[in-house]
Each structure stands twice: as structure tokens, then as C-alpha cells.
């Protein structure tokens, strides 16, 4: 675990503590060994569910919702521009978040869906933002997100970094990813910058790597077994911040979009497999 150049210098300064840490790390290696059978059993549990993912039921509902005339203006979302032109759903999700000329903002899928719902269908953005996850139009957005993401299944992530604002959002997302705070000193990075670690039994993707970001960003929205419903990336992020003991991120707020840009760009070249299946 120790590498013996720079850290060694530091370690020497705190020899007492370091020796105890050395103990700790050797015990750690032992625990990893013991964890193998548990991992295999969990992999078995998950693969059994993966074969028929209840998320498919929600994709069908989302697709029906996409084409249905709704809202004060009684329009469908079929003219919504997700970045590849009005009405193009296939492949749109693997290139989001992205900068949109009409709103002059970088938007993730959910933020963009809200824009379309207001502009095309006449829904009120502030009302949607004030709602809770899984309720009212927010529940509908989860269905729409399941559908839209499913239309990029098997495609490769190519989240754009051409516009200056897209690059700025990446930099801010990265900054925020490492920002420690709250009562527990946690940042996103506290849990998501090492390979092969877990909280309880849940694997923690290393979001600073392409594979880790691809696995995490590429599988939300997902059907959550423990919730019996679809959770979107916005909901995933909000609940991460809750457990990070931070204040609450507002729905589709710039901070949440910036983090998605950070993950999405890191996931470049990885294959989308959403909606996924999670604990």
C-alpha cells in the first residue's frame, strides 16, 4: 500500500502513528481477501436481476409519455431538441450535458426536459423545481429520462467540451467534486476516487477514471430495487449530498449539472447501459 518515495518522507515525521497505520493496512489487505466470497455471492444476486430489469417497464411508460399531448398547451414532446435537433432522441443522451443556444446554458437531460416541458407543453419550471422527486411531473421526468437514456443504449459517451461554458462547467464540476465540507468533512471524492472499494456492500465507482465514470454515469437513470422505482441522476446526486451531510442541491441547479459534466466527460469512450439496475 505504501509507496516509498514522497510519502516516506512524510511518514518518518509521524513514525508512531505510521506504525499503527502500517498495522492497519496489513489488516486491510486481509479483509480484502475475506471479502472475495461475499463479492461473488453479490455478483450472483445482481446478475439474476439484471436479466429482466424492471426498468424496462418504465421505459415503455416513458416512451408513451414522450408522444402524448400533455400540459396546458396539450402538446407532445416530439419536437423537443435534446441537442441533436428537434425530435432526435436516438443518441442524444450520450452527448449530454451540453450547451444549448436557446437557453445559453449547459444543460443535463433533466434540465433540458424541464425546458422543453415549459416551452412546448406550457408547464411551469418553478413548480417542477419546487416539487419532490417521484411526485407529479418529477415522476414523469424520471419516466422520460428512462426512455431517452434507453435510446442511447450501447452507444459511446461523447459529452462535448467545445463551448467555453462546457469547459467551465467541467472545471467547476471537478472543483466541487473535491470540495470537502459539512459536519463529516466529506467530498464526493472521499468515496469516489479509489478503485474497488465499497460502502457496506455497495461498490463505489471511481469517478476520476474513465471506467468508473462510465459505469456510474452510464447506468443512471436506474431501477432501484430498494425503492421499487426509477431514480434519475439528479436524484442520485441529491441523495449523495444528503448523505454527505451537505445542504440540499436544488433540482437541475448549476452545481448538479457541473458534476454531471465532470462525470460525463470523464466517461468519454465508455458505453452507455441505462437505465440500469441498482440496489
Amino acid at each position: 500500500m505504501f509507496s516509498f518515495n514522497t510519502p516516506f518522507k512524510f511518514v518518518l515525521k509521524h513514525l508512531g502513528a505510521a506504525l499503527l497505520y502500517a498495522y492497519a493496512w496489513s489488516a486491510f489487505a486481509q479483509a480484502q481477501q475475506l471479502g472475495v466470497s461475499t463479492d461473488a455471492a453479490l455478483a450472483q444476486y445482481r446478475s439474476m436481476l439484471q436479466d429482466a430489469n424492471p426498468a424496462d417497464l418504465y421505459v415503455a411508460k416513458g416512451q408513451a409519455l414522450w408522444t402524448k399531448a400533455r400540459g396546458p398547451k396539450a402538446q407532445s414532446l416530439e419536437s423537443c431538441d435534446l441537442g441533436l435537433g428537434p425530435g432526435v432522441v436516438k443518441g442524444a443522451w450520450v452527448q449530454m450535458p451540453r450547451y444549448f443556444n436557446d437557453t445559453r446554458r449547459v444543460q443535463d437531460l433533466e434540465s433540458r426536459l424541464v425546458t422543453c416541458m415549459e416551452a412546448i407543453q406550457g408547464f411551469n419550471t418553478q413548480e417542477i423545481i419546487a416539487q419532490d422527486f417521484s411526485k407529479g411531473e418529477r415522476a414523469n421526468i424520471a419516466l422520460l429520462a428512462a426512455y431517452v437514456s434507453s435510446e442511447s443504449q450501447g452507444m459511446t459517451f461523447k459529452v462535448p467540451q467545445e463551448h467555453a461554458l462546457e469547459r467551465e462547467m467541467y472545471a467547476s464540476g471537478q472543483e466541487l467534486f473535491y470540495m470537502r465540507g459539512g459536519t463529516h468533512d466529506f467530498s464526493c471524492a472521499s468515496c469516489h476516487t479509489q478503485d474497488g472499494r465499497r460502502i457496506r456492500l455497495q461498490d463505489l465507482p471511481n469517478l476520476s477514471t474513465s471506467a468508473g465514470a462510465g459505469f456510474a454515469f452510464g447506468t443512471w437513470p436506474a431501477y432501484r430495487v430498494s425503492m421499487g422505482s426509477i431514480w434519475t441522476m439528479q436524484q442520485r446526486l441529491a441523495d449523495c449530498f444528503r448523505q454527505q451531510r451537505f445542504p440540499k442541491p436544488k433540482y437541475v441547479s448549476p452545481a448538479t449539472v457541473a458534476l454531471s459534466v465532470f462525470m460525463g466527460v470523464n466517461a468519454s469512450g465508455q458505453v452507455a447501459d441505462a437505465p440500469g439496475l441498482k440496489r
Partner: protein
């Protein structure tokens, strides 16, 4: 109105594996809501399958079946064009039937 099922058929050598996902809450009748009140049981009670109109499997379910149920079984002696249907009925009397064709 109930939502459609997802029925997937995989055929090999006269055997057809049937995989069905159903859209249903499956309230167990054991769970308490935020106010501590028991959420009344709401579950699929009967499920059966027909092949070309003939019942090939029937079942009774309780609240112990998971939300958005998944059921898998295997048909014998199937041939392309055979018509499978799945029907469920819940304790509120709601019912749903969906079909799939063996290919």
C-alpha cells in the same frame, strides 16, 4: 388502467422459456406508511398462462411476491406461431392480459 407487461420468449429445441415482467405495486399488507399506519394489501392474486387458448400454468400469489413481479417458466413442445397469453388479476379486481408469439 394497468400498464402492459413485458413478455420475452426464447425458444430452442421445442422448449420456450417465458420471462414476464409485470407492472404492479405488490403491497404486502405488512408495510407501514409515514404516519405508522399499515398500508393495505394490494397484490396480484391470480396469474395464469395459456398457449393457443389452453391453460398451461396457473398460480396464486400473496403479498410476498416482489413489486414489479418477474416470473419465468418453460413451455414444452412449442412451435413457431404458437400464441402465449399471460393474465393476472389483483385483489382489487383489476386484471390485465398480454400476448406474445413464439418465433
Amino acid at each position: 388502467m394497468s400498464d402492459p407487461m413485458r413478455i420475452r420468449l426464447q425458444s430452442a429445441g421445442g422448449l420456450t422459456t417465458v420471462k414476464v415482467l409485470m407492472s404492479h405495486e405488490m403491497e404486502s399488507g405488512q408495510r407501514k406508511d409515514e404516519d405508522g399506519k399499515i398500508v393495505p394489501i394490494w397484490n396480484i392474486q391470480d396469474v395464469f398462462a395459456t398457449l393457443n387458448g389452453r391453460v398451461v400454468m396457473s398460480s396464486e400469489w400473496g403479498g410476498g411476491v416482489s413489486k414489479n413481479p418477474f416470473l419465468q417458466f418453460v413451455l414444452k413442445g412449442t412451435k413457431p406461431g404458437d400464441k402465449l397469453s399471460i393474465t393476472w388479476r389483483d385483489n382489487k379486481g383489476d386484471t390485465r392480459t398480454d400476448e406474445a408469439v413464439v418465433s
